[in-house]
């Protein structure tokens, strides 16, 4: 179980206050909410990339003690961000990026996410944004995460590729029992993808 309990977090000021959320193994939880409601902050906290001001994160019963570079438990959690260009080293080929965590299944994973072989030797600036996002999904799955957090993963993708990748993630959940947190503005998409959806409310006007 991946749990956030009473999380208050933000940057200079809090953007989320007292948010609690649980993702069970095998389950897909949707997270919705307007722009600025702190969905990506929730994602970063649960991925152990951002230390909350208050509250705790538990992974499979163990309370998290370190965030960012200290986070020992982080390999249990895979993350996909909205903008793949910001999360891939521009010097790596897609093959290197997918294999970076030490995967030997690059070709198999690439085929799953519908990356044709010609793309694997290219660097990020030589592929489209959606192609890069698909490489990021392959990279995340290469680590066999217990939980996968998808932060607006599909906004760079057409409807057919979106449906295909949701299928890939579901198949991975079937075989691994992984839990998924799916963050999106698209209520219709979450309705089709998630087992249940949690809504964050709009930020208070300041």
């Amino acid at each position: 179980m991946l749990t956030g309990l009473g999380i208050t977090a933000g940057y200079r000021e809090p953007v989320i206050t007292d948010v609690s959320l649980t993702v069970h193994p095998g389950q897909t939880v949707g997270l919705a909410g307007p722009s600025g409601s702190g969905k990506s902050t929730v994602a970063r906290v649960l991925a152990l990339l951002h230390k909350p001001f208050a509250g705790t994160v538990e992974i499979d019963g163990e309370t998290v003690t370190g965030y960012r570079f200290k986070a020992r438990q982080r390999t249990k959690i895979g993350v996909l961000f909205q903008q793949p260009r910001l999360s891939v080293d521009p010097r790596f080929t897609l093959r290197q990026a997918i294999a970076e965590p030490g995967a030997d299944r690059v070709d198999e994973l690439a085929e799953k996410v519908m990356l044709t072989g010609d793309l694997l030797g290219r660097r990020p600036h030589e592929v489209s944004d959606g192609q890069l996002q698909r490489a990021c999904l392959a990279r995340a799955l290469a680590l066999n995460p217990r939980y996968l957090i998808c932060d607006e993963m599909t906004t760079m993708l057409d409807a057919s590729t979106t449906a295909a990748l949701v299928g890939v993630i579901r198949a991975y959940q079937q075989e691994s029992g992984a839990g998924v947190l799916a963050i999106s503005h698209d209520a219709t998409l979450l309705g089709r993808w998630a087992d249940e959806t949690v809504r964050l409310s709009a930020p208070l006007p300041r």
Binding site: Q83, M114, T116, D118, S160, H185, D186, T188, G191
Partner: protein
């Protein structure tokens, strides 16, 4: 105001041992007072086409054909000409993945004010029209959420009030209210006689704002026509599959792998994935010449 006349444009990238045929023989006219949406599979050449129009292609790219905006051929113009007379002035570009295009060491406000000064626009008004609050403007790019960075990019493209706007996935990271606000803004521009080329995966947005939709597959336009006709009564099997994949419809992917742009078949590029394919599809279908045009031997 003048038409944008894209005429038989192709773009190739030379890579070691391979050529990527990213855009193939695309022709499209965009008139003042018209919004055309360009949709299609991820990697099908939409962004490369937009980059070609603004002279933003990398050194290994080769183009053919022409893209006339009044008296300039955008594909033949020098970088100096594009920089001083076209970009931001005659054509505004909202780039895809805007966060990676903003200058990291300057606040949103300073970037927007500089653009306003150079192009002769009003920074405050552009920010407001894009749905930004004054306090957002004092942030540095890394302090902006994805949706805020998108709005900054939208404001930057609109500030010079260009007659033609090319918007590449401008709704990324925006919630429904903000998307609706942006589409209303596009509609106002179009009603004022501007032209908008909207590149988007958001078919609902395309449906709402576009007069016409062009569907691209493997670098070619395979269907183009009135927005609702193309989405609700698609003629091309690819366009039909794309519309049916929407979560409000079947939410099922088109089977098969995307085409290899380094090794395209001589005939219809969709044939390996098409249920209707027969022998005639080994000849390349040409786009018909009617208001709802399709490039398919056996349209739906």
């Amino acid at each position: 105001m003048v038409n944008l006349e894209i005429d038989r444009v192709s773009v190739r990238f030379a890579l070691k041992g391979a050529t990527v045929e990213a855009v193939n023989d695309v022709s499209l006219t965009l008139r003042p007072g018209e919004c055309v949406a360009l949709v299609g599979e991820s990697g099908c050449g939409k962004t490369v086409l937009a980059s070609a129009l603004l002279g933003f292609l990398p050194g290994n790219a080769e183009t053919s054909g022409s893209a006339r905006l009044g008296d300039v051929d955008l594909l033949a113009a020098s970088d100096h000409e594009l920089a001083t007379t076209v970009r931001g002035r005659r054509i505004g570009l909202i780039p895809q993945s805007p966060a990676s295009h903003l200058t990291p060491v300057r606040t949103a406000r300073s970037q927007l004010e500089e653009a306003a000064r150079v192009l002769g626009g009003d920074a405050e008004k552009a920010a407001e029209r894009a749905g930004l609050l004054p306090e957002h403007l004092d942030r540095y790019p890394h302090e902006l959420s994805g949706g805020m960075a998108q709005r900054v990019a939208n404001a930057l493209a609109l500030v010079g009030n260009p007659p033609l706007l090319i918007a590449d996935e401008p709704t990324t990271g925006l919630d429904r209210d903000l998307v609706d606000g942006l589409l209303d803004e596009f509609r106002r521009l179009v009603d004022d006689g501007h032209a908008v080329l909207l590149i988007t995966h958001d078919l609902a947005a395309a449906h709402k704002v576009a007069d016409r939709i062009a569907v691209m597959y493997a670098g070619r336009i395979v269907e183009v026509g009135p927005a609702h006709e193309v989405l609700d009564n698609s003629k091309h099997p690819y366009a039909r599959g794309l519309a049916n994949a929407l979560p409000e419809r079947d939410f099922l992917p088109i089977p098969g792998q995307p085409p290899l742009l380094t090794d395209l078949p001589a005939g219809c590029a969709f044939a390996p994935r098409c249920e209707q394919a027969t022998e005639i599809c080994e000849d390349r279908p040409v786009l018909t010449d009617d208001p709802h045009a399709v490039a398919c031997h056996r349209p739906c």
